[in-house]
């Protein structure tokens, strides 16, 4: 954008010279706002609609599997302590739980539906391509800065849940969103393996998330028309997602296959957040 709009920097950061990672928000960047959230408990052995959002677009979402008083961050709703995998996917009208190898009994999820459309081409500007990730972050929450409380909440609250915006807190800001079909590439060891990548020029490894619509090739837990969040290495259907300092890419395992169908579509959401290394810390653990 040009030199117009509004910016709010973090505490002790000069808003006129600040780098991307030190901004709470910029009026040229969308922040991830929570549209729907809640706890869903469903019969694990069958598929269920978790929430009918009716947005008319496929929104970004996060899922947390709840077990007792503990919540596990669950990319694609995986269950880690058994061999079965269930999935949660989204389309333009609903967020849905899909059963696969699960038996009977209940399973609980906490869901966050965010206002970031997965199917869009968006690229924010970059204020500084050489940020100092070790720069001091500043003091803790204080009685200065910008605070916007939610409807019915007090701006004097010390609970972050009560605010739409709080300049003592960082927002999850979107840098780029892109989508497309995975195509065969020679950069993976054995074509016809495929990949879809989205470049960025942030100069660091940003937080990024990937959602895949497996199209007609979807296995039972991946229904056509729904987007599923990808997790770590060896994730769903042997699809892998990586983040580097220059791009983010989703690729098919060249031995096991994965995408298969030419109708598969991947959406990558790249966030501004670089995970500031000011508090980087190493420990050695033994058991």
């Amino acid at each position: 954008m040009g030199n117009i709009g509004a910016k709010v920097s973090r505490i002790n950061a000069d808003v006129s010279t600040v780098s991307d990672d030190q901004l709470v928000y910029s009026s040229s960047w969308p922040s991830a706002k929570i549209l729907f959230s809640g706890l869903a408990t469903v019969d694990a052995g069958s598929s269920h609609t978790i929430v009918t959002h009716g947005l008319g677009y496929e929104p970004m979402f996060l899922i947390y599997r709840v077990s007792g008083a503990t919540s596990e961050f669950s990319s694609y709703g995986s269950i880690f302590d058994g061999s079965a995998v269930a999935s949660v996917g989204v389309n333009s009208s609903e967020l849905k739980y899909f059963a696969s190898g699960f038996g009977s009994g209940n399973v609980s999820f906490y869901y966050l539906v965010l206002d970031i459309p997965l199917i869009q081409d968006f690229a924010a500007d970059i204020l500084n391509t050489s940020p100092d990730l070790t720069a001091p972050i500043g003091d803790g929450p204080g009685d200065y800065g910008l605070k916007v409380a939610l409807d019915g909440r007090s701006s004097d609250s010390t609970d972050l849940r009560d605010f739409a915006v709080h300049s003592a807190a960082g927002n999850v800001n979107v840098h780029r969103v892109g989508y497309g079909a995975a195509t065969a590439t020679a950069t993976i060891a054995a074509p016809p393996s495929k990949e879809f990548s989205l470049s960025h020029s942030l100069g660091y490894e940003p937080l990024a998330l990937c959602y895949v619509n497996y199209g007609a090739n979807g296995s039972p837990q991946f229904d056509t028309g729904y987007y599923y969040m990808l997790g770590g290495v060896g994730g769903a259907s042997y699809i892998r997602f990586y983040t580097t300092s220059t791009n983010c890419r989703v690729e098919e395992d060249y031995v096991l296959g994965g995408f298969g169908s030419a109708t598969s579509t991947s959406s990558i959401v790249i966030l501004k957040e670089p995970f500031n290394t000011v508090d980087g810390y190493s420990i050695t653990v033994a058991y």
Partner: protein, 152 residues
């Protein structure tokens, strides 16, 4: 919500008609956010830890086989709720030196690495099942972001 509050639309959108996803800020919907300057308590560090950052864990020996084992925790002090989080990681022999999208790593494999939260702690858990082999000398690097919103 009622017709009051604060909206800042993105470039190209009329602020009077912009939908939430066409706004940078919309006071009717909370942003996903995390304290930046606040240091939480931590059992390994009296100085405390930020609620987002980077941790490297070096494994001097193996975690017990077949048992979910806590390898790191942060006391978040956010209040009486279980916060949402975002976590990603790279493990020496799994990630080809690159960050993958999000934990868990290998959710159905023989080495499972995942993150949990409860009303007191954010934790990194590891379960090493038969068939994985040794973890000695390996390193897990993870980035974490603990949000001021419920995750359960």
């Amino acid at each position: 919500m009622s017709d009051w509050g604060m909206k800042i639309s993105l470039p190209g959108y009329d602020v009077f008609t912009a939908q939430p996803h066409q706004c940078a800020i919309h006071s009717g919907y909370p942003c996903l956010k995390f304290w930046t300057g606040y240091r939480a308590a931590n059992f390994t560090s009296p100085a405390g830890f930020y609620l987002y950052g980077t941790i490297n864990i070096n494994f001097a020996n193996d975690t017990p086989a077949g048992v979910a084992t806590e390898v790191y925790r942060i006391q978040h002090d956010l209040g009486a709720y279980t916060p949402a989080c975002l976590v990603r990681g790279k493990y020496t022999s799994l990630s080809s030196g690159q960050f993958n999208g999000a934990l868990p790593i290998e959710p159905t494999g023989t080495l499972k690495i995942y993150a949990t939260t409860d009303q007191n702690y954010f934790k990194i858990m590891v379960r090493r099942d038969a068939g994985w082999g040794t973890m000695i000398g390996d390193t897990l690097t993870f980035n974490y972001m603990i949000f001021g919103t419920e995750g359960a």
